[in-house]
């Protein structure tokens, strides 16, 4: 009885105060900025490597939209290209593993290898093989290849047994099953993987730019660091964070719109 009572009060509380998680989450952000301010005011006061939040904000406003927007544009465009290529390839690989069981094990092991291949290590190789913005796109694509493959395979496998039997009974083969049932069943799990693919693509593009390039957030960051403009380095890091957060949010929103039947979990 106590448990039931407790559960009821829990749901009542969440029902009444729907904005509580938002408030608590925002207070986390406020605490973070507060601790940062406190540290810079006490322990690290006068330390040139550790600017206060207000200095960083002021620096970002001084640099302005004209400085950030072209860099964000370059990096985001590379990340988007990488996102499309990497996910297309990953979904194709996942479909092949389900279509041809013989290839399942080699392909999945190969995906694990791409995951174990540190992007910092493969970056230089891409940099010497490809030219222009290609290495950044390739790095962005490889950064999330494995999670998308796993997400899609899990999704393809989790399809409803009865629906598969139905297709089978009407004479459909594995391809029909994939098109009519499995791909739809895979969507929620695919979107869960895509949510982290967006920020990962940004990271790949930024590391690609660190290795050489003419414009972009990574290039700007290296430049700022080399000219010892610490405030601007912080500003660029925050800008990269915000863009990655927006990418996460867009995919999450898209996932919710496309797969309204999926539970809003994790």
């Amino acid at each position: 009885v106590t448990t039931i009572a407790r559960r009821t009060t829990d749901t009542a509380a969440t029902g009444l105060d729907r904005h509580r998680p938002l408030v608590l989450g925002l207070s986390g952000l406020v605490i973070l900025v507060g601790v940062w301010q406190l540290l810079t005011a006490t322990v690290a006061s006068g330390n040139i490597l550790w600017p206060t939040p207000w200095q960083v904000l002021h620096g970002m406003i001084t640099d302005g939209w004209g400085f950030y927007w072209p860099n964000i544009q370059t990096t985001t465009w590379e990340a988007i290209q990488g996102f499309l290529w990497g996910n297309l390839l990953a979904v194709a690989v996942a479909v092949v593993t389900v279509l041809i069981p013989l290839l399942e094990r080699p392909l999945l092991r190969l995906s694990v290898v791409t995951y174990c291949l540190p992007i910092v290590a493969i970056g230089p190789i891409f940099a010497i093989i490809f030219s222009g913005e290609e290495p950044k796109v390739a790095l962005a694509a490889i950064a999330f290849f494995f999670p998308t493959v796993v997400g899609t395979v899990v999704g393809l496998r989790s399809s409803d047994r009865t629906s598969l039997d139905l297709i089978h009974a009407f004479g459909g083969g594995s391809w029909k099953k994939i098109v009519k049932v499995r791909l739809w069943a895979a969507l929620p799990s695919l979107f869960a993987a895509l949510r982290i693919a967006g920020p990962a693509a940004m990271l790949g593009a930024i590391i690609g730019e660190d290795l050489g390039g003419s414009s972009g957030l990574g290039v700007a960051m290296i430049n700022a660091e080399q000219t010892l403009d610490i405030t601007r380095t912080w500003g660029i890091a925050i800008a990269a964070t915000v863009v990655a957060g927006i990418a996460f949010g867009i995919v999450a929103l898209l996932g919710r719109l496309v797969t309204p039947w999926a539970r809003a979990a994790s």
């Binding site: 106590t2 448990t3 509580r20 998680p21 608590l24 989450g25 986390g28 952000l29 605490i31 973070l32 490597l49 550790w50 094990r105 080699p106 999945l108 092991r109 190969l110 995906s111 694990v112 290898v113 174990c116 291949l117 540190p118 910092v120 290590a121 230089p124 190789i125 010497i128 093989i129 490809f130 999670p147 796993v150 395979v153 899990v154 496998r157 989790s158 409803d160 047994r161 799990s189 869960a192 993987a193 949510r195 967006g198 920020p199 940004m202 990271l203 930024i206 590391i207 290795l211 960051m221 660091e225 380095t233 890091a237 990269a240 964070t241 990655a244 957060g245 990418a247 996460f248 994790s266």
Partner: protein, 339 residues
């Protein structure tokens, strides 16, 4: 996402054969099982090797890479092993440094993340305050913040450990605390009914329940920690494999570059597989926590005996289908007769 990651274990290793070979409790037949396990893992390694080499050649061919720039597996082998000077030895010291950096980072990040997750269970408000931020920070290109961390903590081991730890901290924190929260309500109710304190509930129920998620996060985090260590070595300390690889690129020493990448990937995969091995050995101690996937509709079900994971219906579906399973087991798998 956690579900996706914990499926990594099911998908990428643990064939029925090596599960049987490694997972049998009891002492009987150990030479046979050990032999089987060795054969299976050698075969699996060979398969991986063949696939990787084929993909490597295919990559070079598809993108028409020049011979001077793109090295084949054979080139790397010749450079590392066949060369008279013995080029392998120059990787020895940097490898040790990189593995130390990555190992420290992985350990520190995991310990911190597990500690934080446990305190979140006992103190809910902290979770509500920190978790949304952790969700956001997990998706932040933390490695891109290397210059800032170096600026604050200097260019020594502390900075490298912090960078590698940060990369591993957030995925582990999110996965483990979600798993701790997903404990079946029935188990929690049982603990409550017996008057267990939150600490005892945590120790007896929630921690064993979160072990699979912890291992999944560990193997997800191991390559990330290596990436963090390499990046820190490149941007901060100028030691280790990270620095060696970047220097090789700058000086157009392409044999050195490709060999370095091969070695790093090898370490990463060995780390990944070692964690998998540890996972299987430890999970054997928690037999009841192991889950199988029912071949009927792929739902998970608890297995008290380690054994085949897929391709077999759960007991309930076996009964419901009135299947041909008559309970026969091969001799070495039959339960011992109770006295």
């Amino acid at each position: 996402m956690t579900a996706v990651y914990s499926a990594v274990t099911d998908l990428t290793d643990g064939t029925a054969a090596d599960q049987d070979a490694l997972g049998q409790p009891g002492a009987g037949n150990w030479p046979r099982r050990a032999a089987k396990a060795v054969v299976v893992s050698v075969a699996r390694g060979a398969l991986t090797l063949v696939t990787v080499i084929a993909a490597w050649y295919a990559f070079l061919a598809i993108f028409h890479v020049q011979d001077f720039v793109g090295k084949t597996p054979l080139d790397v082998w010749r450079y590392l092993v066949d060369a008279p000077a013995g080029n392998l030895s120059q990787f020895y010291q940097p490898s040790l440094i990189t593995l130390r950096d990555a190992g420290l980072g992985l350990a520190a990040g995991t310990v911190a993340a597990v500690g934080a997750s446990l305190s979140f269970v006992l103190w809910r408000v902290a979770a509500a305050v920190v978790m949304p931020m952790a969700m956001v920070l997990r998706s932040v290109p933390l490695v891109a913040m290397t210059p800032l961390i170096v600026g604050i903590f200097g260019r020594d081991l502390t900075a490298i450990t912090i960078i590698a730890a940060l990369v591993t901290f957030f995925p582990t924190l999110v996965n483990v605390s979600l798993a701790l929260r997903r404990t079946p309500q029935e188990s929690l109710d049982l603990c409550h009914a017996y008057g267990a304190t939150p600490l005892i509930t945590l120790w007896k129920v929630q921690i064993p329940n979160a072990l699979p998620a912890l291992f999944a996060s560990l193997r997800i985090a191991a390559p990330l920690a290596l990436t963090g260590a390499l990046l820190a070595e490149w941007l901060a300390t100028g030691q280790g494999l990270g620095n060696q690889i970047i220097t090789a690129q700058a000086q157009s020493e392409y044999d050195l570059l490709w060999s370095g990448v091969v070695l790093v990937t090898l370490y990463s995969m060995i780390l990944y597989d070692l964690i998998g091995l540890a996972e299987r050995m430890i999970m054997r101690r928690f037999g009841a926590v192991l889950t199988g996937r029912c071949s009927h509709d792929d739902h998970p079900y608890p297995r008290h005996q380690p054994g085949r994971r897929r391709g077999r219906p759960c007991p309930a579906h076996r009964r419901a289908a009135g299947s041909h399973d008559d309970g026969w087991l091969p001799a070495h798998r039959r339960p011992r007769h109770p006295a």
